[in-house]
């Protein structure tokens, strides 16, 4: 009798693959909106036309009052208030400016200084005509050419920042996302990494500060932004990076601002999220390869055994 097994196997594989295609790639394609990456070009923001002077920029940053709210640790300028009090005043703790020059896009920084709600893409929430002011005060100029002044300030922020190779995944994440999002699995809270306390009451005191901060954040954002520990598994890389690039593309009307990271910073943010939610990925790949080799050898031996046993049966 003709051997029908290859045909039977083909039928089984065919129906299995059709089912898989329909319930996985096809169904997800239908259920989830696809958002193309804009490659972090921020095409809607005006280009910087002037060449900035960092020296002038330093003076402008000092005189324009930036440090009234922001710290610049590398320049020895501390935060005027702690994170909890800052959040009570502004809704969210204003970031330290030491490394924004390398983590954030230059065009974005320039637009942010001039028109925060526009750069952050939250004009639906902060409409000046309705008296809804964004907590970050726009820079109105110091009397000279405002575009030149802004270019100088951006040049200054870039000049004090560390080099791009020195930006760690955690640093990129904490700067861009970490003042709203906790990452419990990395002990990260909105007010910083939770230290190991010797006394329980110190730990509880820290937790209370986090909760107070979160209360302000909740009032400011509408709800508490989610903990991102497992987001690399519950979402995926493409979703996260296109969401960060422009939250409105995914969730029209969301309170989440565009944070203006560069493409390089985005890669680091993703890496940090993998370090939180998919820590064993390298081990998985290494062990996967060995298991596959082992199991193929097992299958070859099983095949040879079958051939030997069945030689007498025909």
């Amino acid at each position: 009798m003709k051997n029908k097994e290859p045909l039977i196997l083909a039928v089984v594989i065919f129906f299995t693959l059709v089912t898989y295609y329909l319930v996985e790639p096809y169904a997800h394609h239908v259920m989830h909106k696809h958002v193309e990456s804009e490659h972090f070009a921020y095409a809607d923001l005006p280009a910087i036309t002037k060449t900035g002077n960092a020296e002038n920029g330093k003076e402008l940053v000092t005189n324009a009052g930036c440090t009234g709210c922001h710290s610049i640790d590398v320049a020895g300028m501390p935060a005027p208030m702690d994170a909890v009090m800052a959040a009570q005043s502004y809704g969210v703790n204003p970031p330290d400016l030491s490394n924004v020059g390398v983590i954030l896009d230059a065009k974005f920084l320039a637009d942010l200084i001039k028109n925060p709600a526009h750069a952050l893409n939250v004009e639906h929430k902060f409409d000046v005509s309705k008296g809804q002011m964004h907590p970050m005060v726009p820079f109105y100029g110091m009397g000279g050419d405002i575009d030149q002044e802004i270019a100088d300030m951006v040049a200054y922020l870039q000049s004090i920042a560390i080099s791009p190779d020195e930006v760690t995944p955690a640093m990129a994440f904490e700067n861009a996302c970490g003042r709203c999002h906790a990452v419990g699995y990395e002990k990260w809270t909105q007010i910083g990494t939770k230290p190991a306390f010797k006394h329980e009451k110190d730990g509880l005191a820290f937790d209370i500060k986090v909760m107070e901060y979160q209360d302000s954040l909740k009032a400011y954002m509408g709800k508490l932004p989610p903990d991102l520990s497992m987001y690399i598994r519950s979402r995926n890389e493409h979703f996260i990076s296109t969401l960060v690039e422009n939250p409105q593309n995914h969730l029209a009307g969301t309170a989440m601002p565009r944070v203006g990271v560069t493409a390089e910073s985005m890669d680091k943010i993703i890496e940090h999220m993998e370090n939180a939610g998919d820590t064993k990925r390298h081990e998985r790949e290494a062990i996967g390869k060995n298991v596959m080799i082992y199991i193929v050898i097992f299958a070859i031996f099983a095949l040879l055994w079958k051939k030997q046993v069945w030689r007498d049966l025909h």
Binding site: V23, P226, G277, R284, G288, M292, A299, W305, V309, W310
Partner: protein, 405 residues
């Protein structure tokens, strides 16, 4: 009392006390299997291996899993996935095996239907097999609750709601099942117990029954031929191995079982390491939140066809048809009135069409069960659900008109 002599070997010592020689013959060397079968007959062994993988990985996971609503999610995603050595591996093996076991069950089931392996004294094999399918479904569902993610919580909510019986409004029954008004600690605790104790025990008992039911009627073969096992096995034992229509289970058929298992495991471990997403839904990596319903709630892929029989109708009719879909497969040996036991394609046009339509239609139902019930998808789903019911109602009629082949 039996007479014991000084043992000549360890095996003899055991044989006098446990009759291991007899046992080996009954279970292995003189358990006769027809030769006229193909690799689909190895699915039973593939299922045994997958079940063993589930039990072993489950035991490891059980050492660290914490069945409380506060800690369940973190014990899985932090402790097991990050802290415990190879915890991630056991979890992926467990999750992927839980999904793949249903693929093999469906292949096994459709093999049985195609070759008529539920007829002529094999009814109990089929019935015990379908009872296994139902307990495996309960096992899968209860296990899905345990990571206490968004899909655990909301699938638990939706499925337990079904017990209110639509217009019967048996809300008291739903509360009794949950032990609370919503899925909470009492719910998680009892599903944990079901998953790790009661249902595995039931499954093991049913596997015993399933094997036992196979013993007397023997395994079916590709042509549904009635084999004289006494005559053929004698031929084999007298040395005419090639001329006999039967072979030993071990090592003859087991060597082929192992070959198929080897190939299956290549596929299985490929999924475990490189393509596990289908078995571990992303939505369930968000912790359970009773105040936030996910945009799309859908069961795992292997429940989708019956979910889609529930969905297109109003709640009462939907529930009736859903119940119908759950039990109707069990009754197959009694609904098939045909005298023929052979491959579906050789039983005449009517049954051949019935078989392939059933297979294709269940895939259509599966796909529509996942897709959002909008526009063309809900129409296709409705038609497919009606076709499913009509096919089962028509089965006794078309099979009683079938000619003897």
């Amino acid at each position: 009392m039996a007479h014991f002599t000084k043992a000549t070997s360890v095996k003899d010592w055991l044989d006098q006390r446990l009759a291991v020689n007899k046992l080996e013959k009954v279970m292995m060397s003189e358990y006769w299997i027809p030769k006229n079968i193909n690799f689909l007959w190895a699915m039973g062994m593939v299922l045994v291996i997958t079940f063993v993988l589930l039990v072993v990985s489950g035991i490891f996971l059980l050492m660290y899993y914490v069945p409380t609503t506060a800690e369940a999610f973190n014990s899985v995603n932090y402790t097991i996935m990050r802290e415990v050595d190879f915890g991630w591996l056991w979890r992926h093996v467990h999750g992927v095996a839980a999904s793949v076991v249903f693929l093999i069950i469906y292949i096994h089931m459709f093999t049985g239907i195609y070759y008529g392996s539920y007829k002529k004294g094999r009814e109990l094999i089929w019935i015990s097999g379908m009872l296994l399918f139902i307990t495996f479904s309960a096992e899968a569902f209860s296990g899905y609750m345990l990571p206490w993610g968004q899909m655990s919580y909301w699938a638990g909510m939706v499925i337990t709601n079904l017990f209110s019986g639509g217009s019967l409004h048996a809300d008291g029954l739903v509360e009794w099942i949950r032990g609370d008004y919503v899925p909470a600690q009492a719910f998680l605790g009892r599903f944990f117990m079901l998953h790790v104790l009661l249902l595995p025990l039931a499954i093991m008992g049913l596997i015993g029954l399933h094997f036992g039911a196979l013993r007397i009627p023997h395994v079916n073969n590709q042509d549904g031929e009635e084999i004289d096992f006494d005559k053929e096995s004698k031929k084999y034992l007298d040395g005419d191995k090639a001329g006999s229509k039967v072979m030993r289970f071990a090592n003859d058929f087991m060597s082929k079982d192992m070959m198929v298992v080897g190939i299956f495991l290549i596929f299985f471990f490929y999924l475990v390491f490189y393509n596990y997403g289908f078995a571990m839904d992303p939505v369930n990596f968000d912790p359970a939140d009773g105040l936030k319903t996910p945009t799309h709630i859908y069961p795992e892929w292997y429940f989708l066809w019956s979910y889609e029989i529930l969905r297109p109708f109003n709640i009462d009719l939907g529930l009736v048809l859903f119940g119908f879909a759950q039990v109707i497969f069990v009754l197959l040996p009694f609904l098939d009135r045909s005298p023929n036991t052979c491959a579906a394609n050789r039983r005449g046009k009517a049954f051949s069409i019935w078989f392939w339509l059933m297979l294709v239609n269940m895939i259509v139902l599966t796909a529509m069960g996942k897709l959002p019930p909008e526009g063309i998808f809900s129409t296709i789903g409705l038609v497919a659900a009606i076709v499913f019911v009509v096919q089962w109602l028509a089965l006794p009629i078309i099979t009683s008109m079938e000619k003897k082949v």
